[in-house]
Amino acid sequence: MSVVLVDAGGTNIGSVRYALQRLGVDASLTSDAEAIRTADKVILPGVGAAGPGMARLHELGLVDLMRSLTQPVLGVCLGMQLLCERSEEGDTACLGVIPATVHRFAEQPGLRVPHMGWNRLQRQREHRLLEGLADGDWAYFVHSYAVPAGDHALATTEFGGPFAAVIARGNFHGMQFHPERSAKVGARLLKNFLEL
């Protein structure tokens, strides 16, 4: 199985790659359109801001290609947000393969943004990506922007209200937390993605 990590300048590429290695998969890091188009699985990692993330995909000429992919695609953290239509972060137009808008967490007393740390996942819909996941399992989050809980949320998390922790639409999937840093729970979800 060929798995590619799209090199869109995200800084968690190293950790995602290592997490895949621990599952026995040697993923290649690439920004080559042909390699991405022909891969069995495509992962879009990302730590950083939406604007620079999209700018990098435009620079590399990968925007239309990413939209046209038909194999399983997984966006992680910022990578998940880039799958949506727009992000409030820098008012950025994103890939638009999942109909949702990314919002900053609204200011509330006691709500410290970034949402940083371990929080619980609540299943919302049955999906193969969630196999083996129990309600209340912990995952590691680091982010200031989030996708609202909505039609495409497979699992949600509470932080001043529910937001989408795992999303899917067709072959496009996203995880707002870092599966590569979410211990056994994260490894299981990554494994599930590789088996889609």
């Binding site: 800084t11 968690n12 590429i13 190293g14 950790s15 290592y18 997490a19 290695q21 621990r22 730590v47 950083g48 801001a49 910022l78 410290r112 943004v113 970034p114 949402h115 940083m116 740390g117 371990w118 929080n119 619980r120 912990w138 590691y140 680091v142 982010h143 200031s144 509470e158 932080f159 870092h178 590569e180 840093r181 979410s182 211990a183 056994k184 994260g186 490894a187």
Partner: protein, 256 residues
Amino acid sequence: MLSRRLIPCLDVRDGKVVKGVRFRDHVVMGEIVDLALRYRDEGADELVFYDITASPEGRSVDRGWVERVASVIDIPFCVAGGIRSVDDARAVLHAGADKISVNSPALERPPLIDELAAAFGVQCVVVGVDSLRDADGEWRVRQYTGDPSRTQALPRRTLDWIVEAQQRGAGEIVLNCMGSDGVRQGYDLEQLGAARSLCQVPLIASGGAGTAEHFRDAFVQADVDGALAASVFHSGAIAIPALKQSLRAWGVAVRI
């Protein structure tokens, strides 16, 4: 609900984990990867590695051990020490670290925080603050604390710096209260509480943990998001699984 984090801190010197008392007299505690794995297995929520001599020696973090840790560890970790530019930070993040923490270089040149936040997002940027109460009763920051012969007292007030760091783009503050560090008499709740009231981003307590009650007090009284400790974990005086059970019994949200 977001859990409170327990964060073993591994001070790294010449590729080994060391621990000093009140930042002096460092003793080798073990190999980096061995300790990292041990803490992962015990249920640590996150790890922090401080290359304590990088900043005083004017060099960057050695990427080799960052990659070794990243390849075996499946919990988040933060790297600190000698990160003085966006390029330094990028190298460490690309080696697999989840966050970078800046301390002395941010005091030398505060716009470094803005640059790091712009390049990687605030969620990657931790500002470490070493603080000590002066004779006049004010808490002020210290610089180059990894090397006692170079440690400097700055005129900058700790609480002012915490506010400025957030304005510039710090996504998390680690407040190391040097007066209580390494002596296991409890976190400096007064100072942490004062910092908490000015800190809208996650605040991590550092310095002074000796008992499970000290962790409880930091979470319940000072309302910190995470508690960092070194010697009590390294020595085995406090085991993380038992600590988490105690905290849960006291009503503190922890990941078990």
